[in-house]
């Protein structure tokens, strides 16, 4: 794929395949970027992904702290209802969500890309399970020293929960970066498209002789950033899968 992206247009179709391009050309990349603003897409994707991920970690940890550590009437019932929302597939909520975004006039804005994904029942559940394992003695002694609930959350629970927070961060980041259906629905203008949607749009635009070489160049542009992030963070990623206990044990 990388090799094809550097080939002259006609040479993608040779058999046997030429593994090493001859000559190497950069034109496909230049043309892909001239055709569509992939740099814009990358900035959009990075911005929405980072914003969503930080928000998810923030809201989930606050909610998880409340469900795990605070006592208030109806807590367990609310938690069950909250978990119940995990059962409903995203496709069911997608249509009402879209209508909501439209009512707010948020279509083609960052709000539509970020806000609906800023809460995660899965994240809350994951962090709650982790928070429950933190000994109560720590909290009690902090209370005796006069710390407020928020202070206990910020200064005791959060630092202890770093591995779980990192796991949630990575999962959300990967999921958001590659998410496709929702951005596809709520973006129409090029200025707000993310990489996945942009690539799909590009597929519709590109055509003719140079089709595959261009498409491969564009795909490389889309794949590289996330692969880089993965290669750097992969140790934590695999650990995260084991830690969350989704191996069913």
């Amino acid at each position: 794929m990388i090799s094809t992206s550097f080939k002259e247009p006609g040479k993608a179709y040779r058999w046997p395949p030429q593994w090493i391009p001859d000559p190497w050309v950069l034109d496909n990349y230049v043309e892909a970027f001239q055709h569509l603003p992939f740099d814009r897409f990358a900035i959009n994707t990075a911005y929405t992904t980072v914003a969503t991920t930080l928000l998810v970690v923030f809201t989930s940890s606050l909610a998880a702290y409340a469900f795990a550590r605070l006592r208030f009437p109806g807590r367990d019932v609310i938690f069950l209802l909250y978990l119940g929302t995990m059962m409903i597939p995203g496709q069911v909520t997608m249509i009402p969500n879209f209508i909501l975004m439209r009512t707010f006039k948020w279509i083609d804005t960052y709000n539509a890309l970020i806000i609906p994904s800023a809460f995660s029942a899965f994240g809350t559940f994951l962090l709650r399970q982790f928070f429950l394992t933190i000994p109560y003695e720590l909290e009690d002694s902090a209370k005796i020293d006069g710390a407020s609930a928020f202070r206990i959350y910020a200064q005791i629970v959060m630092p202890l929960a770093k591995p779980a927070l990192a796991t949630l961060f990575i999962f959300t980041f990967m999921g958001q970066w590659n998410s496709f259906l929702w951005p596809l629905i709520v973006t129409n203008r090029l200025e707000r498209m993310t990489l996945s949607v942009g690539l799909r749009y590009f597929q519709g635009e590109a055509g003719g002789e140079s089709y595959y070489t261009l498409l491969m160049a564009a795909s490389v542009v889309v794949l590289m950033p996330i692969l880089l992030v993965y290669v750097i963070g992969q140790r934590y990623f695999i650990q995260g899968i084991t830690l969350t206990g989704i191996s069913g044990r």
Binding site: M1, A12, M87, I95, L195, G248, R249
Partner: protein, 261 residues
């Protein structure tokens, strides 16, 4: 809100009309495409879940060996999982190309004339299944790997003392100890495969002759391309009902074969 939407007829431009159960009855009696879409989704599930299960379990067993460079392979198999589904689909369009694609080129080395993968109604869905299995195999592999490494070593040692060979150890130690993991993988794969969307949108756009139009793609078509919001919502609820029943059935069957310590 979504549930209420299922009873409306609404194109977002004119005010919504109450339609009662019309959306649901139309779905099951008049929409001739709906049974096909449903069948396509089931076909995809029946194809990809068992195949993905076997491939990922096999890979996990291989990756559980203590060999040099194993970390490299574990990483390599996981790369497609974290990659963008859209970019992966683009790559496979090229691999599946009937004349220039690597796949048919490879087959031709054995004098097999490969099919027109994505334009032949018989082959389009298998092509999508193969691609999805390849993309997702790493994820389940890691889960199986975690399950395998959770099996206490002393069980194997005990079995060996009792004279069990490799086959017997696999049959009587590995498999029973792994059933909870297997159960998890199957349930999650079924749920995941019902939501297949990207591959069929990008690679075939539901074609040829609707052979790859899946449930989620059809919901997307109806709600966001034909602006039948109520109809789409009704369909999404049918999908939820199917998944709910399927999961409940699996939970019930679980008692028959999953062994917890």
């Amino acid at each position: 809100m979504s549930f209420a939407l299922g009873f409306l007829e609404w194109d977002l431009l004119s005010p919504p009309k109450f339609a009662g159960l019309d959306n649901y009855s139309r779905l099951f009696t008049q929409d001739t495409l709906f049974p096909k879409v449903l069948w396509n989704t089931v076909y995809y599930t029946l194809g990809s879940v068992p195949l993905g299960f076997m491939c990922s379990l096999g890979l996990a067993l291989a990756m559980n060996q203590k060999l040099r460079g194993i970390v490299f392979f574990r990483t390599a198999f996981f790369v497609p999982v974290v990659s963008s589904g859209v970019a992966i689909a683009m790559l496979w369009i090229w691999l599946y190309h009937p004349y220039f694609g690597l796949l048919n080129g490879f087959l031709s080395l054995f004098s097999i004339r490969g099919p027109n993968w994505l334009t032949d109604p018989r082959w389009a869905m298998p092509a999508i299944i193969i691609m999805s299995v390849w993309k997702n195999v790493g994820y389940n592999m890691v889960i199986f790997l975690a399950g395998l490494q959770g099996i206490p070593q002393h069980l194997y040692e005990a079995a060996e003392i009792d004279g069990a060979g490799i086959g017997a150890r696999f049959r009587y130690v590995t498999i029973p100890m792994l059933t909870p993991t297997m159960f998890f993988v199957i349930v999650m794969s079924v749920i995941g495969s019902f939501q297949v969307f990207e591959a069929s949108l990008i690679m075939t756009n539901g074609g040829p002759a609707d052979a790859t139009r899946t449930l989620v793609l059809y919901i997307y078509n109806n709600a966001f391309q034909y602006f039948k919001m109520g109809y789409g919502a009704a369909m999404a609820w049918v999908m939820f009902a199917i998944l709910f029943v399927a999961t409940a059935v699996q939970m019930r069957l679980q008692r028959e074969w999953v062994e917890y310590e």
